[in-house]
Amino acid sequence: MNDRLRELEQKALSAVEKRAAYGPDIDLNRYRNVGEHEKIEALESLSRQAREAAYMAGIEQNLERTAGTYMQLDSSVVFEQVQRAYGGQLELLSTDEALAKYDGLPEYWWQAVPVDQDKYTARVALNQTHGYFIRVLPGQKVERPVQACLLVAENFISQNVHNVIVVEEGAEVQVITGCTSITGVKEGLHIGVSEFYVKRGARLTFHMIHNWAENFHVRPRTGVIVEEGGVFVNNYVLVKPVGSLQTSPSVYLRGKASRAEINTIAYGMKRSVIDIGSRIVLEAQDTAGESISRAVADDGSILYLRGMLVGKTDKRAKAHLDCRGILKSPLARIVAIPELDADSSPECDLAHEAAVGPIDQEAILYLMARGLTEDEAVATITRGFMNIELPGLPEALRRQIDQVMEATLHRGL
């Protein structure tokens, strides 16, 4: 082990007891299981339940429609394939393979997420169970999406993945990550450290779909560094129950005129505790950030909607945050916490709008005047409310998300 890795390990060890700043504290000792699985030759060899779960998380099973697919089942990488036509455009490995190939990935390993951020990052550092490494070669515009599926098939697993995406200069790619448990699996932990590097003039569109169960605890830890002229788009969708989920990707707009757009759609149901935020840090001239979230709190769910815009450049830059919530049940709760931090940045324009309320009664009556029942009207309006533009969303994924949302909204109808 070289000095750098030893140092990371030391830092991680120092953080094993460190609580996260937000979200319910999870007893990590409950989740110690490891589930090992054999490699598969084709997705068809997965169990029917596993394939269904993957579908629910937006994973395309017809690999012809993708540029590459990575699939992890519990603690094992079971499938890894770049479609033949894209071989010259991108690399897709498990992060362990990438660490071996690239000498420990010194430029990327724990460079966008601090290893000692909290006990979750520490657990990933000390008990990592793989994760994907995607690298798009310079100037390559990958037309079809690359997809990664992180499946949990057994109870009490602690899935501790560490992912890295590098989009080299002038390259473009879309990545779909579907994180999901299989029906019947009741309880587990998923921690995903993700570090994304968007180089000069590159573009990364990242879609993340979560499909968990009522006693799953989910702690993604994401850091993104965007260089000059680069664009990072993040679309996050959660419309299924979860035990608790806390995440707040940090995007550092490091290079001039780099941009970030973060779109979040969350539907809280049952007793889900969902704490979602984002932090966009403007570090250079003409950088621009936009964060849009739409959240619905139903049943007894609690949603914290955080959003932080930070100005850290003395040059001109701007960011905007738009956060709206609908409270659909008298037992639910939404806490919206937008924050603006203009830190020695006299030229930065930071703005936010936040609104929380019930569904517009007038709109419900309007739809009822077209013959919809009240429940149908509420479902239609809620669906419309969450219908924000998710740029770059592939058609198949859009249809799939629609289906899942419809199912969620029409349960009980």
Partner: protein, 240 residues
Amino acid sequence: MKDLVVEVNGNTVLKGVNLKIGQGETHVLFGPNGSGKTTLIMSALGFPKYRVVSGQILFKGKDISGMSLDQRIRLGMGIAFQRPPVVPGVKLRQLAEMIARTDGAKLQRVAEDLNALHLLDRDLNDGFSGGEAKRSELLQLQMASPDLAFIDEPESGVDLESIAIVGRAINAILGKTRVKAGRTASALIVTHTAHILDYVNAELGHVLVDGRIVCSGNPRDILREVREHGFKHCEVCTNE
């Protein structure tokens, strides 16, 4: 409706309205701003804010006072609103398809006729111009093909040329373009200008002043009276 008294937010707006629209008939309703025309329509449809204090509302021979808004719609009532609300994220096309529960062919044709194709994929009423909102309302009403249509000021804010389009749409809703004689729908059309009468044949006109129907008769005659003497005169006319 019989002796209908309706309260809105504690104010009595309709003060005993009697109105009967027979099957296949088209009536127009005149009246000054704030006289209760929209209130009359909303009460007939059962909007919750409009509290029926006394009186009866009958439709197809049934007392519908206890029915919810959507039940009344499913029974065959329909409305084109004077001022429809914005519904973010819900497209006109989506709602129109839900209304008709049929394939898109009819929608395409109706939207073409109403010059509303460009509105189909926009959020409902979001940024619609005055005339566009009216055309979208009529499009939805036409998709619903009601037996009794309440049409609240279809031509306000509509340019003179588009009034012809609006008129055609109303006739289509009422089934008045059908060659075959047969069952046609009824309607109550609220209008200030009566331009719509150039396109739509109406049997009867009524004047609503301060929550009461003060005069009924040939719509063109009424219009002439109002133009010459104002609404005040209508009250006098009933008192004579």
